[in-house]
Amino acid sequence: MRRTKQIAVILSDTLQCAGLNSLLTDYFPPVNIADFRAFDDLPENGTGNGNGTDFHYYLTQADTFALNIDFFLPRRSRTLILTAGKAASPAAGCNCLDTGAPKEALIEQLQQFFSSEDTQNTVAERNKELSMREKDVLKLIAQGNTNKDIADKLNISLNTVLTHRKNITARLGIKTVSGLTFYAIMNGLVSSDAIG
């Protein structure tokens, strides 16, 4: 499953922002875009503690990048800087997008930006097989157990159960208990008689 790209667009120019939004939505789905007028509006502002609030990608303008270099430098492979004309990159190894370029070129640049970052994630995502432990968790979900029950039965923490569930959903693309139950029956993990 292609993951939904969580993108933060930090631009003071409303039109630029709208244009970028429409390009991303039309040509790079699935995307989930959050618009910010200024860097200070970012929820994780500056701290970048990586506690899951981190966006996959940051699209911003050169001055915002330069003013918040501490934040962007560690994320430079995931950051794209909008420049007018082929201006020099504000820092080495940064991705730039020339806003004056024709539409076709813009899309190509965006494509390159996303694909260079994507390769790191796909290997793990392609491994669709569930692990033994995940299968155990899935079985218990299908039998109608709550997360707490599962934790007790497998002797693992509630957090571990939640992590397993998250991974199962990511692998199969199925979110609901009914859907997971269906998958478990279909793959012989539980028999349909075992379901209430």
């Binding site: 939004n21 199969l172 693309g173 979110k175 859907g179 269906f182 349909s192």
Partner: protein, 230 residues
């Protein structure tokens, strides 16, 4: 612009305009003329149509300026449409999909069961809307108009869950994904396509319904409750 042009361009609007009582045979009338004829608020009709056609467009502030009864009337009509047409439509396709595929593919039977559990949830939500939620919203809005006369305030009702993930939408998405991704054994592909198309059409409609429900109606009700508090 002529209404007929809009509908020709976007036939998916036919069920939407029918919720406003507009029938085909639109002739050369403009949108404004049609609204005049059916005694509709042109602005409201256009806003609903535009948000339906363009999922990026959702003017929350503007939608919240319409009257509660308009919003609810529209949601009631969409619920009716699910019950009378879209659910039976999926069911019809699904039944023929299951019965014409080679008997003994147990997965198809399971898919049938999955659909019926989804249907039960949606029907239950609609029943709750009719019985409780919508009438509460309307009563609240009326109370607010009588506020000057010092009417008693209503006891607050527990609002329908704010969906981080609406269960109705999630089930439908899973059903579609299971068909596309996890189907196996022998089956009739053409009929499966019919099922998936019907699911997609309901999915789009529910997505639209839900954003009006949770992002427009719920905040309106919360605002009214605040004013209405004694």
């Amino acid at each position: 612009m002529q209404m007929s042009e809009v509908v020709e361009e976007n036939p998916s609007l036919i069920p939407i305009i029918s919720r406003f009582g507009i029938r085909l045979g639109l002739g050369d009338q403009s949108v404004a003329e049609i609204c005049d004829k059916y005694e509709l608020d042109t602005d409201f009709l256009l806003t609903v149509i535009n948000t339906f056609l363009n999922e990026e467009y959702f003017p929350e502030k503007k939608l919240q300026t319409f009257h509660t009864s308009q919003i609810i009337d529209y949601l009631v009509k969409t619920n009716e449409y699910y019950l009378r047409f879209q659910l039976p439509n999926i069911e019809r396709h699904l039944t023929s999909f299951i019965s014409t595929s080679i008997p003994g593919n147990p997965i198809l039977e399971l898919i049938g069961k999955f659909f019926f559990s989804f249907k039960a949830k949606l029907v239950a939500r609609i029943e709750c809307d009719d019985r409780q939620w919508f009438s509460y919203c309307l009563a609240l809005s009326e109370k607010l108009q009588d506020k000057l006369s010092g009417a008693a305030s209503l006891p607050p009702l527990i609002h329908p869950e704010e969906p981080a993930d609406d269960p109705i939408e999630a089930l439908l998405a899973d059903l579609k994904r299971i068909l596309v991704k996890h189907l196996s054994g022998d089956y009739n592909l053409n009929l499966c396509y019919a099922v998936i198309s019907a699911i997609c059409s309901l999915e789009k409609d529910i997505r639209q319904h839900n954003r009006i429900r949770f992002r427009i109606l719920t905040p309106m009700v919360e605002a009214m409750e605040k004013i209405n508090r004694p």
